[in-house]
């Protein structure tokens, strides 16, 4: 097909991805009078944000008046093991309360405190009760509010449209090529400003809480466009995913269960988290069951938090160790028990969707019986390197917000900081992208035609089933680039991924271009291969253990590497890896981090 016959649109701003970050960016750009397209891989309102359960972290101080942005900043930096982009962590902590209040002005219905304010719940790594929430379906509330705000803001929504290529002409963003799932037809978006809000890469692992969409498209598009990726070794394995029955393995069990008093036990019945207190957090958490129980019952000023609420990296590694040392359950998990800590009515009220999920999918009544849980791939801290203020990448006109952006969460993300991240930085990306509007450089027809040819190649020949290659990739990443890594495993992963690149080039699809999942999977494989290789290369380069990155051959953190970032960039057709030292944390902020509260 000639590029001149192609359906094309011209916009001031094109936002790719319609979860919280994409919607918030589109709303902001539209409010600044930009002509905005919102492109989503699924139907509107089905993005991953919809599955977020526990809440959005913001130092509103509604429940515990001592809270403020400084403590939130401190918690975020400590949770991120001091690897965070400090400026992003600061902006995030300062602006999150306004972003939450703004959602209320747009119709959000958060759970309330007795005096009628937005209620806040405790969560892992947060010093004070900080998560604005709606039971355990906070993401659904947020996406619905943003969705309704968005559709009444005059944004053009292009649903079930996958972007396969970004065009950069003369060093500047010029547009994007996508296809509609329904028809299989291509569409060209011409624009000088693109906001990536495509989420994460969790589909590269076997056991994952992520859906089919999470194939790292934004990371891969940015990489191919010449942008830099950072921190790709830092992948968050959420401590609590379902483990049984096999068909539900990986589905998320909210941290809210532990926030509401749920405890972790091994097969001997021991509450093992007391044994896993890292030095950094000593003194911040309860060291007896009696103190933990008193905290759960509501006396939160005199008692410290239970150790189950340590940061996710710490809890996930503890669970992995318990299982590896033979203290796991029958199906290879550990026990999460809230039934013995809270009444059935309280559990159903605070955790309705968890109650429903276990009842329907595992035939377990969580108000009576414990849950079996284990770690599941959940989130990537790494992403496109962006400017903290504007969210612009190293390619002018290309922005990234939400999970696809890197830096904010450092080596480990605190629960609840994702929903606030996507509001704070979604808004900023939309604002600065709208400021970038102007004539986009013309995209050469030949480039568009080549991109279309490449996308259609799987139809040209008989070949291997793309689902088989995807499944092989997931097995490699699970085994060699999972929670615990080492040099030999990562080198093996890179060698295996190299072989898979060859197989991926030769996959074949049958049938028509209309709504053909085989073809979609063949295209997504290209993104998965890029993000998997980036993760493995960065993980091999970082010779220490920090946050979500654990090397059994380098089990300790190395302070020299704390502020070093592994940067990945496409150079001469290959993936180049280098180290870069982040700017130092200013003294006044450093003092906040060290302060004990």
């Amino acid at each position: 097909m000639a590029a001149s016959d192609l359906k094309s649109h011209t916009y001031d701003v094109v936002v790719i991805g319609a979860g919280g970050a994409g919607l918030r960016a589109a709303i902001e750009a539209s409010a600044l009078k930009a002509k905005v397209a919102l492109v989503c891989k699924s139907l509107l309102g089905k993005a991953h944000t919809v599955m977020a359960e526990g809440g959005a972290a913001a130092a509103l101080g509604n429940v515990m008046g001592e809270d403020n942005w400084r403590v939130h900043f401190r918690d975020t930096m400590r949770g991120g093991k001091m690897h965070n982009n400090w400026r992003m962590a600061q902006i995030h902590a300062q602006e999150a309360p306004d972003r939450i209040n703004e959602l209320e002005a747009w119709g959000a219905l958060f759970d309330r405190t007795p005096d009628g304010r937005i209620n806040q719940r405790p969560f892992g790594g947060h010093t004070y009760s900080r998560l604005a929430h709606v039971g355990d379906r906070t993401g659904l509330e947020m996406i619905r509010v943003l969705q309704d705000k968005g559709v009444h803001s005059g944004i053009d929504v292009h649903m079930e449209c996958t972007i396969v290529k970004l065009f950069v002409v003369g060093g500047k963003v010029a547009g994007a090529l996508g296809y509609f799932r329904e028809t299989g037809r291509f569409v060209l978006f011409k624009t000088s400003a693109i906001v990536l809000a495509t989420g994460g890469i969790g589909k590269a692992w076997q056991i994952t809480s992520n859906s089919w969409e999470y194939t790292g498209d934004g990371h891969a598009l940015a990489y191919e466009a010449g942008a830099e990726l950072i921190d790709m070794e830092f992948v968050q394995f959420h401590p609590t995913g379902m483990v049984w029955p096999p068909s539900v393995r990986g589905i998320l069990v909210t941290e809210g269960v532990r926030g509401e008093g749920g405890v972790l036990k091994n097969s001997t019945g021991e509450r093992f988290m007391f044994r896993y207190m890292p030095d950094m957090f000593k003194g911040d958490y309860a060291d007896t069951e009696a103190e933990s129980d008193a905290w759960v019952k509501g006396d939160r000023t005199k008692n410290r938090r239970p150790p189950e609420l340590l940061t996710r990296d710490v809890v996930a590694k503890a669970i992995t160790k318990e299982i590896a040392e033979g203290r796991g359950t029958e199906h290879g998990g550990v026990v999460l028990d809230i039934a013995s800590k809270q009444s059935p009515d309280y559990i159903k009220k605070k955790l309705p969707s968890m109650y429903h999920q276990f009842k329907e999918l595992a035939h377990v009544d969580i108000t009576k019986d414990p849950m079996e849980i284990g770690p599941t791939t959940h989130y990537v801290m790494g992403g496109v390197k962006v400017d903290a203020e504007t969210q612009e990448s190293t390619v002018p006109g290309l922005y990234a917000a939400g999970e696809v952006g890197g830096g904010m969460h450092g080596a480990n993300r605190l629960g609840g900081n994702s929903l606030s991240d996507l509001l704070v930085f979604g808004r900023r990306a939309g604002q600065y992208a709208a400021g970038k509007r102007g004539a986009a450089p013309a995209i050469p027809d030949a480039e568009v035609e080549q991109a279309m040819r490449e996308a259609l190649e799987p139809f040209e020949h008989a070949g291997e089933n793309p689902f088989a290659v995807q499944s092989a990739l997931q097995a490699i990443m699970q085994r060699d680039a999972g929670i615990i890594r080492d040099k030999a495993g990562l080198e093996n992963a890179l060698a295996e991924l190299e072989k898979l690149k060859g197989r991926a080039r030769k996959v074949g699809v049958t049938g028509s271009r209309e709504y053909n999942p085989g073809w979609h999977t063949a295209i997504d494989l290209q993104s998965l291969l890029i993000v998997s290789e980036a993760t493995a290369r960065a993980a091999l380069e970082r010779t220490e253990s920090r946050g979500g990155h654990t090397r059994s051959d380098h089990p300790d953190p190395d302070e020299k590497q704390a502020r070093e970032q592994i940067v990945i960039k496409k150079e001469g057709g290959r993936m180049a890896v280098r180290r870069e030292v982040q700017p130092p944390i200013p003294a006044d902020l450093m003092a906040l981090i060290k302060e004990s509260v």
Binding site: G107, D111, R144, S247, F467, P517
Partner: protein, 247 residues
């Protein structure tokens, strides 16, 4: 092995195709469809995202009953029972199990948007109490699976999409109508464009809702009462005239 009969086809027609799937413990119908897709028919079209009953993407009809495929366990059926999976009937087929649900999005766009009262405090915030937000919170549980639209006979049998917004969109309107801060008046919209009078309270929508939203009793009937009050209650009309208050 379980025999699956899955609709394969497009807007132009199609039919049921047979596939054998080996059931594993805890398997849901969506797993079986994915197994068929990965091993036997890579071009079998199906929508899904969360696989945990939270996104409302994988709606279909299983042995004739509108359900989420991800929340329907194969153990709910007898081991020798054939499981037939067809697309939602109230919407046009795009391909296989995927239907064109864009009409719902068009209707949603036309529902008058949220209009809050002026903030209660100079910092731009309001106070609302839990008892006030609980009713609209029930409606916000809606995952937009559109199974209620699929089962509603006004849409399914009588094809009144032009005149009736359907239970899902009534729930959507009810969120804002019963929102403690909202001041917009949607009664005229509900009566005319929304066609709320078409609902004759058979409650099929409530029965099919995977989120157990009491659609008819808590959303539609109160909305009907508001519409009726607005139009036929002479005292209310006089009150509005005297006070100028809309609600």
């Amino acid at each position: 092995m379980t025999l699956f009969r899955v609709f394969r086809g497009t807007r132009d027609g199609g039919g049921l195709h047979d596939y054998q799937v080996a059931a594993t413990e805890g398997m849901v119908v969506l797993d079986a469809v994915h197994t068929i897709q990965a091993e036997q028919a890579p071009d079998l079209a199906v929508r899904w995202n969360c696989k945990a009953g939270k996104c409302g993407s994988c709606s279909a009809e299983i042995n004739g009953k509108p359900k989420l495929m991800c929340m329907t366990r194969m153990s709910d059926y007898a081991p020798d029972e054939t499981i037939t999976v067809t697309p939602m009937k109230a919407f046009p087929v795009i391909k296989d199990l995927v239907t064109d649900v864009s009409w719902n999005y068009e209707v949603n766009k036309r529902i008058p948007s949220f209009q809050p009262r002026a903030p209660d405090f100079p910092d731009g915030t309001w106070r609302m109490y839990q008892f006030e937000v609980e009713r609209p919170q029930e409606f916000r549980k809606c995952i937009e699976c559109f199974l209620c639209q699929d089962v509603c006979h006004v849409l399914r049998t009588h094809d009144k999409h032009e005149q009736f917004m359907g239970p899902a969109m009534l729930v959507r309107a009810a969120v804002y109508e019963m929102h403690p801060l909202d001041e917009a008046d949607r009664r005229d919209y509900l009566r005319h464009e929304g066609g709320i009078g078409f609902c004759n309270i058979t409650k099929c929508c409530t029965e099919v809702c995977p989120e157990s939203i009491t659609i008819t009793d808590n959303a539609i009937i109160p909305l009907k009462e508001r519409v009726v009050d607005a139009n036929y209650d002479p005292l209310a009309a006089l009150w509005r005239k005297v006070t100028g208050k809309g609600k």
